[in-house]
C-alpha cells in the first residue's frame, strides 16, 4: 500500500466533488474521465491514472471551482462534456479541450448538479440543478438554459436522477434541501414525493438501469440514511443499517441492474452491500487512515476499477479492490494567463 504524503491544498477546501467517465474507449483507445474539484475541472485520458487541468484553453488566472460534470451518453462519438460552476455552465464539444459558455437566466445561478437525458442524441436535453433557482433545462445541447419550476417548492437542488427510459416516461427526480420531487413531463412541472421521515435533505439519487420494469430508485439523505423505492418513488423503505451513521453522499448501483449490489458513500466512507442493503461491508477501496472520501465512480471496465476522490483533492484508482495509484499533483498544472 502506498503511503500518503502530506501536502497543502491550493484552495482552502479542495475536495473532489464529482467524477464522470466515458463508457468505452475512443477511437485511439483512450478512456476519458473527468473530475470536478474546487480547484477546477481535471481530465484524464487513461481512466484516471494521470490528470491534467481541463480549463487550460480558457486562460483563467484564478481557479474555476467546478461542482459538477457530466458527459453526453454517447461520448465516444459525441465528445460533449458539461461542467457546472458558480454562475456558469461550460460546454465542450471536443472531449474537454475547448469550452463555450451556455446562456443562463439572470441573475446567474450557482450550478449544483448536472444530468443528461438518456435520449440526448435525439432530444439534446440536459438538466442542471442550482443552489437557488431550481432546475434549468436546455433542449439544444447546452446552448440556452431556461428555468422550469412549476410545483418545485424547494429551489435548492442537491442532486438529480433521470429515468433510463426518459424518452418514453419523461421522468426525472430532484433531491433538494427539504426532500424529493418528481417530474413526469420532462422537467416542466414537479410534484412532491413524500418520504417516510418527513423533511430531510436528499443528497444523492440513483435510478435503476431497469427502472421502467422494476421501478427501483435509491435516495440518500443527510440524517436518515438510504431509502429505496420499488414502485417508481411512490412508497419508500429505509435501509436501517445506514440510518444515523452519517450523510449518504453518493449511491452507486450495479450497471447490470442487479439491485442487490450497491455501493454508497456514507459519512465519508465507502461501503458495499451484496444483498440489497440489508448488510454492508467496508469496501477494499477504503484504506484505514485515509481522509474522507468525497466522490467515487465505478468504471465500466473489465477490471472493475473504481475511482476515489478524497477531501484533500487527491484521486486514487483501484483495480479489483487494489489501489493502483493516487494522484496529488494535478493542482500544480494550472494554466496561466
Amino acid at each position: 500500500m502506498e503511503s500518503r504524503q502530506s501536502f497543502a491544498a491550493s484552495t482552502p477546501i479542495d475536495c473532489v466533488l464529482q467524477f464522470a467517465a466515458a463508457d468505452a474507449p475512443d477511437a485511439e483507445g483512450r478512456y476519458a474521465c473527468f473530475a470536478a474539484r474546487a480547484s477546477g475541472l481535471f481530465r484524464s485520458q487513461d481512466y484516471g491514472q494521470s490528470w491534467i487541468p481541463a480549463y487550460a484553453s480558457l486562460g483563467a488566472s484564478e481557479p474555476l471551482p467546478t461542482s459538477s460534470v457530466v458527459l453526453a451518453p454517447d461520448f465516444k462519438r459525441d465528445r460533449t462534456v458539461f461542467a457546472g460552476l458558480n454562475g456558469a455552465i461550460l460546454v465542450s464539444r471536443d472531449g474537454g479541450v475547448e469550452w463555450q459558455r451556455g446562456h443562463l437566466p439572470s441573475p446567474l445561478p450557482a450550478i449544483s448538479a448536472l444530468a443528461t437525458s438518456p435520449n440526448y442524441e435525439e432530444d439534446e436535453t440536459v438538466f442542471a440543478g442550482t443552489a437557488e433557482d431550481g432546475v434549468l433545462i436546455s433542449q439544444d445541447s447546452g446552448r440556452k438554459w431556461v428555468a422550469w419550476n412549476f410545483g418545485l417548492l424547494d429551489l435548492n437542488i442537491l442532486c438529480l436522477g433521470v429515468s433510463p427510459d426518459f424518452g418514453l416516461d419523461e421522468t426525472i427526480f430532484a433531491g433538494t434541501e427539504s426532500g424529493l420531487f418528481r417530474s413526469t413531463n420532462g422537467g416542466r412541472a414537479w410534484r412532491e414525493v413524500p418520504l417516510p421521515m418527513g423533511f430531510d435533505p436528499v443528497l444523492a439519487l440513483a435510478v435503476s438501469p431497469r427502472f421502467a420494469r422494476d421501478g427501483v430508485l435509491f435516495a440518500g439523505t443527510e440524517n436518515n440514511g438510504l431509502f429505496v423505492s420499488a414502485d417508481g418513488g411512490r412508497a419508500w423503505q429505509g435501509l436501517a443499517a445506514t440510518a444515523s451513521v452519517g450523510p449518504v453522499n453518493q449511491v452507486l448501483i450495479d450497471a447490470g441492474g442487479d439491485r442487490r449490489r450497491l455501493m454508497i458513500l456514507l459519512g465519508g466512507a465507502l461501503i458495499r452491500s451484496r444483498d440489497g442493503g440489508k448488510t454492508w461491508q467496508t469496501c477494499k477501496e477504503q484504506v484505514p487512515g485515509d481522509c474522507s472520501i468525497t466522490a467515487a465512480l465505478a468504471l465500466d471496465d473489465a477490471e472493475r476499477s473504481v475511482l476515489i476522490g478524497y477531501e484533500d483533492g487527491s484521486i486514487a484508482r483501484f483495480r479489483a479492490g487494489r489501489r493502483q495509484n493516487r494522484t496529488r499533483s494535478t493542482r500544480g498544472r494550472r494554466a496561466r494567463a
Binding site: 441573475p107 424547494d154 435548492n156 412541472a189
Partner: protein, 546 residues
C-alpha cells in the same frame, strides 16, 4: 288539510294534484331543452338575447341553458323548472360539468317517484329511502375510479367534457404542467388560434404605485434582481419612515427593494423616486394584494412564507419607521407593472412553505363553502410557483365567447377529475350501479325501499339512454348488449362499438359523476315531498318559450 284548503281555492296557492302536474311539466320542459346537448354527438341550443342589439347565444351547457330560461309562462310549471334550474346552477358552480346528466337523472327519479306517490306511496318515506341509497352508489363509483397521469390521459378526459380535440390537447398539456391547483386564466384574444402561455413565479393583483419606478418605460414594468421584499398593509405617509426603510434595506445588503404597501403619499413617493435614492437602491412599490382585509391578510401571509419576510401589519401597530433588517424577505427576481407584481425564486424556508401548502390543502378538503374553496385553491395555485394563460381566438364573437366558456367549464371539471380520479365515461359508471340497485330492490321487504331502488335502477341509465338517442342509436338494443358486458364497458357512439371506456380514453371525472348522482337524487327526493305551491301576487317578468 291540503285538500280542505284546495276546496276553498285560496288565490295564489296551488294544491295537489295540480302541484305535481305543474312541477313535472316545468321540469320536463327544462330537461327537454337540455337533453339534446348530451354526448359527443349532440346538438346545440340557440338563445335569443333580450336586447335586439345583442347577438344570440349558442349554448351546449345544461346549466347555462337552464340559467337563460328565467321564467315559463305557466306559473306552476315555472316553479318546477326554477327548482331544477337552481339545482343545476349550483352543480355547475361546484363541479363545472355533469349538469345535463344530473337533469336527466333528476327527471327520471321525479317522474317515477311521482307515479309511486300518486298510487298511494308515502313521499317522505320514499325520500328517505332514495337518500339512503346514496352511500352505496358512491361506494360503487369510488371502487371504479382511477387516477390520471400524464398529458395524454388529461387530454382524453378534457375531450370527453368539451368534445373539441384541439382544446382538449391544450388543456391536457396545461394541466399536466400546472396541476390540479395551478392557476389558469382563459382569455379572449385577437387572433384566430388557441395558444397557451406559461408564466413562471407567483404574481398577485396589486399594481405599481408609480410608473416612474418602471425600469422599462415602454412596457411600464420594473424588474428587480436579488431583491429585498417588504410585505405590509401599511399606509405610508411620512418621508422619514421611507428613508429609514431604505437605509435598513441597504444595511441588510439589498441592491433592490420591492415595497408592498396599501398606499404611499405623494411626499413619501417623491423620496422613493429621488434619483440618488434610486441609484443607491432600486425600489419598486406595489399595492398590497387583495381587496378585503381577509384577502390582504392571506396574501401577505403567503408572501411572507414564500420570501421569509415578517409581514408588517397596521392591526399590530407595525410601522415603516421601526423596520429592522430581519423583517425583509428575499427573492431572486421580482417585477411589478401597472396591474400586478410578481416574485420568482423566493428565499423563504422551503419546509415552512411545504407545510403551509399542506395546511391549505387540508383546509380545502374540509371546506364545503364554494367561495372559500375557490380562495384556498387560488392561494395554493399561486404558491406552487407558476401559472398558465390560455388565449382563445375566433373570428366570430359568438363562437369566441362560447369557446371561452367551454374552456373554463372544462378546466373546472378537470380539476375535480385530477383530485378524485376518473370513471368509465358516457354514463357507464352509473349504469354499472344498476345491477346492484336491482338486486337491492329484489331483496327489499319494505315497499318504499323496493320502490326507491327500482326507481334508482331506472334513473341511472337515463344519461346513457339520452346519449345514445342523441347519436341516433337504438338505446334498448345497446343497453341489452351492455348488460352482458363487463361493468367497465360502454358504448363508443363515435366508433359505434362496445369498448372498455377507460382504455379507449372515454372517461368522466369521478367527482362530477358522484356529484351529479347526489344532487339529482337529493333534489328529486325533496321535490317529491312538495305538496303546495305558493305564487306571489305580482309575477316577475315573463320570458316566452316557444
Amino acid at each position: 288539510m291540503a285538500k280542505e284548503m284546495s276546496s276553498r281555492q285560496i288565490p295564489g296557492v296551488v294544491f295537489q294534484p295540480r302541484t305535481s302536474a305543474g312541477m313535472l311539466g316545468g321540469i320536463d320542459r327544462l330537461v327537454a331543452a337540455i337533453r339534446p346537448t348530451l354526448g359527443p354527438i349532440h346538438r346545440n341550443v340557440l338563445i335569443e338575447k333580450e336586447s335586439k342589439l345583442g347577438l344570440p347565444e349558442l349554448l351546449d351547457s345544461g346549466a347555462i341553458i337552464a340559467r337563460r330560461i328565467i321564467q315559463l309562462p305557466n306559473r306552476d310549471e315555472d316553479m318546477g323548472a326554477m327548482y331544477l334550474r337552481q339545482m343545476l346552477w349550483a352543480m355547475y358552480e361546484s363541479a363545472g360539468d355533469g349538469t345535463a346528466s344530473a337533469a336527466l337523472i333528476f327527471d327520471r327519479i321525479y317522474r317515477e317517484g311521482l307515479r309511486y306517490v300518486v298510487t298511494g306511496g308515502d313521499a317522505m318515506r320514499l325520500r328517505e329511502q332514495l337518500e339512503s341509497a346514496i352511500p352505496m352508489i358512491l361506494d360503487q363509483l369510488a371502487g371504479m375510479a382511477r387516477m390520471l397521469e400524464g398529458k395524454e390521459q388529461l387530454a382524453r378526459l378534457a375531450e370527453t367534457i368539451c368534445y373539441e380535440p384541439e382544446l382538449a390537447g391544450l388543456l391536457g398539456e396545461i394541466f399536466d404542467i400546472i396541476g390540479e391547483f395551478g392557476r389558469l386564466d382563459v382569455r379572449a384574444s385577437q387572433g384566430r388560434k388557441m395558444e397557451p402561455e406559461y408564466i413562471e413565479g407567483m404574481y398577485w393583483a396589486g399594481g405599481m404605485l408609480s410608473r416612474e419606478m418602471a425600469s422599462d418605460r415602454a412596457s411600464g414594468r420594473a424588474e428587480l434582481e436579488e431583491c429585498a421584499i417588504l410585505a405590509s398593509d401599511l399606509e405610508v405617509t411620512e418621508p422619514t419612515a421611507v428613508i429609514h426603510c431604505l437605509e435598513t434595506a441597504a444595511q441588510a445588503g439589498a441592491k433592490s427593494l420591492l415595497l408592498i404597501v396599501r398606499s404611499v403619499s405623494e411626499r413619501a413617493l417623491s423620496v422613493l423616486l429621488m434619483k440618488p435614492n434610486q441609484n443607491a437602491l432600486r425600489v419598486a412599490a406595489a399595492k398590497a394584494p387583495g381587496d378585503s382585509s381577509d384577502d390582504q391578510r392571506e396574501g401577505l401571509e403567503d408572501l411572507s412564507i414564500l420570501t421569509g419576510a415578517r409581514p408588517l401589519l397596521q392591526a399590530t401597530g407595525d410601522s415603516l419607521s421601526a423596520v429592522k433588517t430581519g423583517d425583509f424577505g428575499w427573492a431572486r427576481r421580482a417585477w411589478a407593472d401597472q396591474y400586478q407584481f410578481g416574485i420568482s425564486g423566493g428565499k423563504g424556508n422551503p419546509r415552512r412553505l411545504r407545510q403551509h401548502i399542506a395546511a391549505l390543502r387540508a383546509a380545502l378538503a374540509h371546506n364545503d363553502d364554494l367561495q372559500a374553496r375557490r380562495r384556498l385553491r387560488e392561494r395554493i395555485g399561486k404558491l406552487l410557483g407558476g401559472s398558465a394563460l390560455l388565449k382563445i381566438g375566433h373570428p366570430s364573437p359568438i363562437t369566441l365567447q362560447a369557446r371561452k366558456e367551454l374552456a373554463e367549464r372544462t378546466a373546472e371539471a378537470m380539476r375535480g377529475a385530477m383530485h378524485a380520479g376518473v370513471l368509465p365515461g358516457g354514463g357507464t359508471a352509473l349504469l354499472a350501479c344498476q345491477s346492484q340497485l336491482e338486486e337491492k330492490a329484489h331483496e327489499a321487504q319494505d315497499p318504499d325501499e323496493r320502490a326507491a331502488y327500482r326507481i334508482l335502477a331506472h334513473a341511472v341509465e337515463a344519461p346513457t339512454r339520452a346519449l345514445l338517442e342523441n347519436a341516433g342509436e337504438e338505446p334498448n338494443r345497446i343497453l341489452r348488449r351492455l348488460a352482458e358486458a363487463d361493468r367497465r364497458c360502454g358504448y363508443d357512439v363515435v366508433r359505434h362499438r362496445v369498448v372498455d371506456m377507460v382504455e379507449a380514453g372515454i372517461v368522466d371525472s369521478a367527482a362530477v359523476v358522484a356529484e351529479e348522482a347526489v344532487r339529482a337524487i337529493r333534489g328529486a327526493a325533496l321535490a317529491l315531498t312538495v305538496d303546495v305551491l305558493v305564487h306571489r301576487s305580482k309575477p316577475p317578468l315573463a320570458f316566452h318559450t316557444t
